[in-house]
Symmetry: C2
Subunit: 335 residues, 2 copies
DNA sequence: TTGAAAGCGATACCAA
DNA sequence: TTGGTATCGCTTTCAA
């Protein structure tokens, strides 16, 4: 392994000069700079990350605690992770991947062993046990998602409440008066994932505001379960003319079931989905809906957390406005 | 931050004694051990990871280069990542996440800056440019997937060739003589991902061996594209009585199209899929097929790579046998 | 069974 | 504009 001392020797200068040249933290004569650059190239020198971290108290790595479970909307999680990893590299940082399972102890560990400069935490739950710890530790952090007790912490998220409202507003605007919302798997609500709760709350408030009839229920991904659920709910409320689906895993089953019931989309029933654009356009009928701008949020999270690391005290929380895209699955309610 | 010196002082012993006590690398009197344990607990001491790494030349972190793209079978990738991350933690290691996009330079970087002890590389392609670099660098590594020029490197993978054969064998055994295989998106073949090529090759060799008629084509996830493709291929070869699908993203569309064409599964046409169990059982008809044991492979990769780190020269490559699970989507070919 | 001290490979302060 | 060197927090050799 080639060290900074090797470079210094090779270039005939001192170690500190090499260090300063590389960091640019003090002026170096063009001549010296050139000699050092040559030596670096010739020897193929790269600073040892651990030594650098130890001396500078900066690891240039970010912890990312991500929910790697199957029950969630996996593709969206993946988009978050991809966006974060890419953005981190653009800012010359690496990602240390922690699983949700490590929980509070994971956060403590990376902090106390000084493994990372900051942490990005995904999938926030109501009364999330990690939040008080993060607050107390004072480790720079950004939450992706938020909840009531997130006060004092910086977070960024899609405004899921307004996303639900956008869906309802759109349907109400088309004249729909009776809407069924199919939610995420019940496990998601049971652990009180912030985004699912926010979407459900937004849905409820929007239907109330419009004075229309709206109800919702969790839904599991099994085809038969979806099919039975949809059939039963439509039978109970035959006046239902629109569906909102906050569960990308069941879209195929929902559309299949509607066809089985001889309900055409959008002529007989409108469907709005919260899902990635890819998923939306790959269905039998291209779906109107809102997408989680996961990559954008991931990038924002990286930038927000790095600002904190750089000591910018003006850290601001960010709520991203949802954008509803019109496609083929919604239409005016038939008279 | 509390350091090893603080602990030593608090316990009234030397720094080296604390270090040896913690590492267990030399005998320590029970008395001393107890005192140190108390001090550690009382002060909440945790060794600084960077200092430890610098001194011991061991980072206790593994690089994982994962394909975080959308065109792939995202859930399976996620399972790999989850298995790897979990297994790594069980062995007291962390995961540094590299994106596929970093390519050769990513591998070089983590090696030359001494960021990690070893690397796990996913999604191997034919003539993968990373392989020669890995070989030359001598960084402990495990590939998930393999290819012709992987000689000298350790890898682990599902035997995709035999997986395809298992599917064909099963169908042939049921009397099917004309099979269509719907493959992954064409981009996957274009970049020559090892698993896709191996599956296709296995399919071809199996149909040849059985002397039956088999053909295959890539398939894109868009519903209409799938639908058109299936309809066209079945029209071209009306004797087709079985489908093999190596693309979990299109399963819903395939089944939907078959129904539209009034083909019942499995009475009129059998379907075998290579996809996660979850996906298989969540379709209208539960699908017979082979699953990638992603978590198991991920765990194996971690263990294999750690063995190398520990200097076990007997590193062995592993090819996991596929397991076909019978469900509702296959039946004897009707006379 | 324990301690002292020399590294590990950088950064950055203090001098010149 | 440059150099010398203490320092970061730990591991491990050498000595006792």
């Amino acid at each position: 392994m080639v060290t900074i001392a090797d470079v210094a020797r090779h270039a005939g200068v001192s170690v500190s000069t090499v260090s300063y040249t590389l960091s640019g933290k003090r002026p170096i004569s063009a001549e010296t700079r050139k000699r050092i650059a040559r030596s670096v190239a010739e020897l193929g020198y790269r600073p040892n990350a651990k030594a650098q971290a130890l001396a500078s108290n900066r690891t240039n790595t970010l912890a990312l605690m991500a929910p790697l479970r199957a029950d969630n909307n996996v593709p969206v999680i993946m988009q978050f992770v991809a966006g974060i990893a890419t953005a981190a590299r653009e800012h010359d940082h690496d990602i240390l991947l922690l699983t949700q399972g490590e929980g509070v102890e994971g956060v403590r560990r990376v902090r106390e062993t000084a493994l990372v400069d900051a942490v990005i935490v995904m999938d926030i739950e109501a009364d999330d046990a990690r939040l008080p710890v993060l607050r107390k530790m004072g480790l720079p952090a950004v939450l992706i998602g938020t909840t009531e007790n997130a006060g004092g912490l910086v977070w960024v998220d899609l405004d899921f409440g307004r996303a639900a409202e956008a869906c309802v507003d759109h349907l109400a605007g088309l004249g729909h008066r009776s809407i069924l919302m199919l939610g995420s798997p019940s496990a998601v609500y049971e652990r009180r994932s912030s985004y699912a709760l926010a979407f459900a709350a937004g849905f409820e408030s929007a239907v109330r505001r419009h004075g229309i009839d709206g109800r919702w229920c969790p839904s599991e991904p099994a085809y038969q379960a979806v099919s039975a659920l949809v059939e039963q709910e439509l039978a109970r409320r035959p006046d239902t003319t629109a569906l909102v689906v906050h569960n990308e895993g069941i879209l195929g089953a929902v559309l299949g079931t509607l066809r089985r019931l001889d309900l055409r989309v959008p002529e007989d029933i409108s469907v709005v989905a919260l899902c990635p654009e890819q998923t939306a356009v790959n269905q039998v009928v291209e779906l109107t809906g809102v997408a989680v701008p996961a990559e954008q949020i991931g990038r924002a999270a990286v930038e927000m957390v790095l600002r904190q690391v750089d000591g910018d005290g003006t850290a601001q929380t960010r709520l991203i406005a949802p954008q509803l895209t019109l496609r083929q699955s919604t239409a005016v309610r038939r008279a």
